[in-house]
Amino acid sequence: MRKTINMYRQIGDFAENKEIAKRIRVENIMPTLSRGDGVELDFEGVDGATQSFIHALISDPIRQFRNVAYENLYYKNANKDVQKVISIVYRYMQESLGDD
């Protein structure tokens, strides 16, 4: 099963509010991944995102679930800028994980 989250409805066209990122992470992403289900984050209508927002959204799922997160997190309709920020967070989290 895959749960879809409409990001525009949560954060509008620019994703910078980390309180909302945390809420989505805690209330949706973590419980869904812990059940082994997939999460589809739909960025349709979102023009941009800060690194801090994306970090608050997905760094903890990556740290806690690792491969389960890589396999079950999907990013739909993310424009090139948003894709770039997500990729940056993926890269530095993987660089960092050996430190735990």
């Binding site: 910078e16 509010n17 980390k18 941009g48 690194q51 801090s52 970090h55 660089e95 735990d100």
Partner: protein
């Protein structure tokens, strides 16, 4: 406290402005200006507004002869924070360029509203709007999360048509960078703390690589790097230290090299500034020099990764050869 606006208010001269600050008697603030002409950078205004809010309107005044160019202070909202009545009368619809007047942001909700309602006042292209939203989003968030300021973040921005430049100043009167770094990094001086705050992957909230679930230690490094790539100034002032990233040479088209250590960049710094209990961050962005946002992020991301790798390598155990 005393603040003087000269006729050279730009980031190149920020250190002169800072050295002229007088923080004695924090219960009141007196603002004076050059008698014939004043030029004020948003950083000067943001710092002044933050101190005016701290001292209180009834204890803040603008004194002496104010030249006609002083009407800019009125347009930006400084007089409203003081006891002094503005001597300027003008049609409020009169053009004063594209700017964001002195604005105070205290919550994440305020920040989202500010970004969606105020940034459009600058009437920038979609590409430039994204860069400015990004910068203000990250800098204000830094204040809200790390400064512990009762008065929030003061934000001021101005667009300069002639140079196609946006200048931004963000200031708080919170705990300052040294205190926010103290628990995990133990910096000896304010300058050490500033250096740490600008390094990729270093956050005051943890020593763990990758940060916490909320913080990665990337915000200021990204903003400083955006300034460098766009061949612009970036400055930060906290405690008795100030660091200014100088403009990258404009006579070469090569993309500037980014460094994890801010002291490797061309810069100036001082560690004997009047002690400011708070943090001021200022940045200029030359819009003509701003590449596609994704390529800008890509270049910054690469240096960020390399810095983490480098730091991890220093922790590797070495074989014991005997």
């Amino acid at each position: 406290m005393k603040i003087h606006f000269s006729n050279q208010g730009n980031l190149r001269n920020l250190q002169s402005f800072i050295k002229s600050l007088d923080f004695s008697d924090p219960s009141k603030l007196q603002i004076t200006t050059h008698s014939k002409w004043i030029t004020v950078h948003p950083a000067n205004l943001a710092l002044t507004a933050a101190l005016a809010i701290k001292a209180g309107k009834q204890n803040t005044e603008i004194i002496g002869k104010i030249p006609d160019t002083g009407r800019y202070l009125d347009r930006m909202g400084l007089y409203k924070l003081t006891e002094t009545k503005s001597p300027f009368e003008y049609n409020k619809k009169e053009s004063a360029g594209r700017f964001v007047p002195i604005s105070v942001i205290k919550t994440a909700k305020d920040q989202s509203r500010f970004i969606s309602e105020m940034i459009p006042l600058l009437h920038l292209s979609e590409q430039s709007t994204m860069v400015i939203k990004y910068i203000i989003g990250e800098l204000v968030r830094n204040v809200l999360e790390h400064a512990f300021s009762d008065d929030g973040a003061v934000v001021v921005a101005q667009y300069y048509k002639k140079t196609n430049r946006i200048s931004i100043g963000i200031c708080d009167t919170g705990i300052g960078i040294w205190k926010s770094m103290l628990e995990n990094w133990h910096p000896k001086t304010d300058l050490d703390a500033i250096e740490l705050s600008l390094m990729p992957g270093i956050t005051g909230t943890t020593r763990r690589e990758g940060g916490t679930s909320e913080n990665a230690g990337a915000g200021l490094f990204f903003i400083k790097s955006i300034a460098k790539i766009t061949r612009s100034y970036f400055a930060i002032y906290s405690g008795n230290a100030e660091y200014t990233l100088l403009k990258y040479r404009s006579d070469t088209r090569r993309l500037p090299t980014l460094y994890a250590d801010p002291f490797r960049d061309r810069h100036t710094k001082i560690d004997d500034a009047p002690r400011f209990n708070g943090t001021l961050v200022a940045v200029d962005i030359l819009l003509d020099e701003t590449p596609e946002f994704q390529s800008l992020l890509g270049a910054i991301g690469k240096v960020y990764d390399e810095a983490i790798r480098e730091r991890k390598r220093t922790k590797y155990k070495e074989p014991k050869f005997i």
